[in-house]
């Protein structure tokens, strides 16, 4: 007796008859992945537990974050679009866990369809754990923008990284218009968010994270700064609005590096350092980043 490893039809799947034109398989990954299930109650509860009880301690151990500027959100009503700069995979957990609860438990994250939704398993994982929704990085995809807009209209907050990907060298990239477009379309504000220091933990291409700061000691590691909510002005198009959002994030970066008053004065004088860094030779760009010069660990001590 031979035990059939592959049960035959009708128990097993049918085989395709030769000569019949082969149909492409239904596209169920990338932007076509349906994330509705991840926003129903069971998944939301699971995600709340995951974010609050797993991600938050993890972030605290790895980055000991200092979150500032939450008072600027005191008058803000959900939903809103949170636009942050992007250095590291750690940015999403960091921003997510830094959000006040009223935003955090009803938030979706715009994630690159080609990376986070490349397979069914990966898609399910992304959708469940961080509430990711698939977004095309480069072009405005009708399906993904409709999905995001309908979610915002339905009261969901959107976390988005308008640079379209993690920073390759530590400097920022130009902001794309997606967040601004959605803000105008849904008539909701954009909250600029500046994330500092995640690159030192897990930069693009790194395999393992390096904890910085003293674990759980608030303020010794990375920093997240929330800015004042920005509303699109009458007749402003998404490109101009995106520039304004980028400037706001840059000012927050300046505020993080110096202090608020210095940042305000430089902003008023138009001398805020840009996120994208100087347009010079790569080594000078690298040199200008102070994290490259940071000493790692202590000098060895000899017995």
């Amino acid at each position: 007796m031979k035990l059939p490893l592959r049960p035959s039809f009708p128990i097993g799947p049918p085989t395709w008859p030769t000569g019949v034109e082969l149909q492409p398989p239904p596209r169920r990954t990338g932007v076509h992945y349906d994330t509705d299930w991840a926003r129903r109650w069971p998944a939301r509860v699971a995600r709340a537990v995951f974010v609050d009880d797993l991600l938050r301690p993890l972030v605290a151990v790895l980055g000991s974050p200092l979150v500032t500027g939450l008072d600027r959100l005191a008058d803000l009503e959900a939903p809103a679009i949170f636009a942050a700069n992007h250095h590291s995979h750690l940015d999403t957990p960091l921003v997510l866990t830094s959000l006040p609860a009223r935003f955090r438990h009803r938030a979706v994250v715009a994630a690159a369809a080609d990376y986070f939704f490349s397979s069914r398993v990966k898609s399910a994982y992304s959708a469940l754990t961080i509430g990711a929704i698939p977004i095309e990085r480069t072009k405005v995809n009708r399906r993904s923008s409709d999905l995001a807009a309908s979610l915002i209209d339905g009261g969901w907050n959107l976390v988005v990284f308008p640079e379209g990907g993690r920073s390759p060298d530590g400097w920022g990239q130009d902001f794309r218009g997606g967040a601004a477009y959605l803000a105008i379309r849904c008539q909701r504000p954009v909250v600029p968010v500046y994330v500092e220091g995640t690159r030192r933990i897990l930069k693009k291409g790194a395999q393992l994270p390096t904890p910085i700061g003293r674990p759980f000691a608030r303020g010794t590691g990375v920093r997240v700064t929330f800015g004042k909510p920005l509303w699109a002005q009458l007749g402003e198009d998404s490109r101009r609005f995106a520039v304004r959002v980028e400037a706001a994030v840059a000012e927050l970066g300046d505020e993080t590096a110096t202090d608020w008053w210095t940042a305000r004065r430089r902003a008023a004088a138009g001398t805020t350092p840009s996120l994208t860094g100087p347009t010079t030779a790569p080594w000078r760009r690298a040199w200008a980043l102070d994290d490259q010069r940071r000493r790692r660990g202590a000098d060895p001590t000899w017995p």
Partner: protein, 547 residues
């Protein structure tokens, strides 16, 4: 940068009148009236008042501004009175000083962001745009204690603190630093006008206030917050206080008349741009929300939380109870903001305060009862010592009237508070000595003033603690007593404290009673049988308009 939310997609909230929700109420107690809530320090209890007593309930919190930041921007751009918009007053190379109220307001401390943070950030935004480099911030705490770093951070926000404090550009007023005081002159009445030198010599002085009660604000802001002792003495004295009927009603307050004279003189010397904000009376967070509801409207949930809270407070050590209460951050919200010339601004502010707080009531009573809460302006993060009980009860609560006092001349005031014989030695060192050494000798305000004030005011140790530690000035304990001097005179020292430490109560010349019923019996000896009774159901704050 302009206000990010301009004439925009969102509806503009500026100028929407603060809607009044249900106004205050005077309830006559009958047999079906539920017992009435009395605050008593870190606790409260329900008391049945005799039939026919009247209870004054505060108005419900008025609807706050929908977008306070936009409202601030609007106020700065459209000042009232004889003043240009703030932006027009700012130019590169000028010196700008921003003075702001201290932690005595609001009560309890409000949730972040504080009104002052919002306003200061807006002012600094404009200053940054105008390229003003020489900016200094001064906490205008007068003779109050210096604030700790967390307290300052709470008021101005972390951003402003981190930007200014490390450079020494955020300082606290020091009324004993004689090198940094500027004598501007003397008024025809002989009042010294002497304030902080930096404020007096700046090209522009911006004062940022939170107007909790009608006494605050106006010229009193600068003339107390930034003044020296000899300047303050002009209006902080027994004579002035006894002729301020009440000091909450600036029209009939000697305190304010003096401050106004002095403020006008200051105004001729330095350009003052006043920014005042008002709050609604949404005083307690959700878990204590029953404290600001009328008893017959308590839901099952309110009753459950009343029982849970009061039972657990009975069992918990006083220290813990105190730390729980002082941890309360109030959800008060901004109801108005106005900027410009001091007097014009303050007129609007006062109107706004009255709109929230005034409750009309007809006629005076023989007996006034009130429950005193755990906090007053001078014991934020501290214990409410007996002198503060006196000041909050006979100073603040008694004076929350316009027209006539709630109690008739020669009537009785009954207050409930545990009045512990306990002092915070860091915050109130001179209070201890006042209580131990002055009060046993006399409780007459005028005699106290004549005999002891100079000694305490010039005591080098108090001055040292005031300047370097977190102590109220040596003379501040006297002001507590002066603040109640009008009430003492009016009711002829007939004050009964329910549930207080009997020794401490007697030391102040009052009578201790263990229950409200006893206190009412005792009061009958003074005012006769079947007295009329009015109960001030506060906090939340209300101001009685007595006709």
């Amino acid at each position: 940068m302009t206000s990010p939310r301009g004439d925009a997609v969102s509806p503009s909230p500026v100028g929407r009148p603060a809607l009044r929700t249900r106004p205050g109420l005077v309830l006559e107690v009958e047999r079906s009236t539920p017992p009435v809530l009395f605050h008593a320090g870190e606790g409260f209890h329900l008391e049945r008042l005799p039939v026919g007593s009247r209870v004054i309930y505060p108005a419900e919190p008025v609807t706050p501004l929908a977008d306070p930041d936009a409202a601030i921007g609007h106020a700065l751009a459209n000042p009232v009175g004889d003043s240009e918009p703030l932006a027009a007053l700012l130019r590169p190379g000028m010196s700008l000083t921003i003075a702001f109220d201290n932690q005595a307001v609001p009560l309890p401390p409000m949730r972040r962001p504080d009104n002052r943070q919002r306003v200061i950030e807006a002012v600094l935004d404009l200053a940054a745009e105008a390229g003003v480099d020489d900016v200094e911030l001064i906490a205008a705490h007068g003779l109050h204690r210096r604030m700790t770093e967390p307290e300052l951070r709470h008021i101005v926000g972390d951003r402003v603190y981190d930007a200014f404090a490390p450079q020494g550009r955020l300082t606290q007023h020091d009324a004993e630093d004689h090198d940094n005081l500027e004598l501007i002159g003397r008024t025809p009445e002989g009042e010294y006008v002497e304030i902080n030198k930096r404020a007096a010599t700046s090209d522009l002085l911006v004062y940022v206030n939170v107007n909790l009660v009608a006494m605050d604000g106006g010229h009193k802001s600068t003339m107390t917050g930034l003044a020296s002792y000899r300047s303050l003495r002009a209006h902080h004295n027994v004579n002035t206080m006894q002729h301020s009927r009440s000091f909450m009603d600036q029209e009939r307050s000697e305190l304010h008349h003096s401050a106004w004279r002095m403020g006008r003189m200051l105004g001729e010397h330095v350009k003052v741009f006043q920014i005042e904000t008002t709050l609604n009376t949404d005083t307690f967070p959700k878990q204590f929300s029953f404290l600001q509801k009328r008893e017959w409207e308590w839901s099952a949930r309110d009753r459950a939380s009343y029982l849970a809270v009061s039972k657990s407070l009975d069992r918990c050590p006083p220290r813990l109870a105190r730390s729980i209460f002082h941890g309360i951050k109030s959800p008060q919200k901004m109801t108005s903001v106005q900027a410009g010339e001091v007097e014009a601004v303050h007129a609007l502010t006062t109107a706004s305060v009255y709109r929230q707080q005034l409750v009309p009531i007809d006629g005076q009573a023989d007996i006034l009862t009130m429950g005193l809460p755990y906090v007053g302006p001078y014991n934020v993060n501290s214990v409410m010592n007996p002198l503060l009980v006196m000041c909050v009860g006979l100073g603040y609560f008694f004076n929350l009237y316009r027209g006539k006092p709630l109690v008739r001349q020669g009537g009785v005031v009954i207050m409930s508070h545990p009045t512990p014989w306990e002092f915070n030695p860091v915050h109130h060192p001179s209070y201890i000595d006042f209580f131990e050494q002055v009060l046993p000798e006399t409780t007459d305000p005028a005699e106290i003033e004549a005999k002891f004030e100079a000694d305490f005011a010039n005591d080098p140790w108090y001055i040292h603690l005031y300047r370097t530690s977190y102590a109220y000035h040596g003379v501040h304990a006297f002001y507590m007593w002066y603040w109640g001097s009008h009430a003492l005179q009016h009711v002829d020292n007939n004050v009964i404290i329910v549930g207080g430490n009997p020794r401490a109560v007697r030391r102040m010349g009052f009578k201790p009673a263990s229950t409200l019923r006893d206190a009412l019996e005792m009061a009958e000896d003074v005012v006769g049988r079947n007295p009329s009774i009015t109960h001030l159901h506060s906090p939340p704050i209300l101001m009685a308009d007595v006709t």
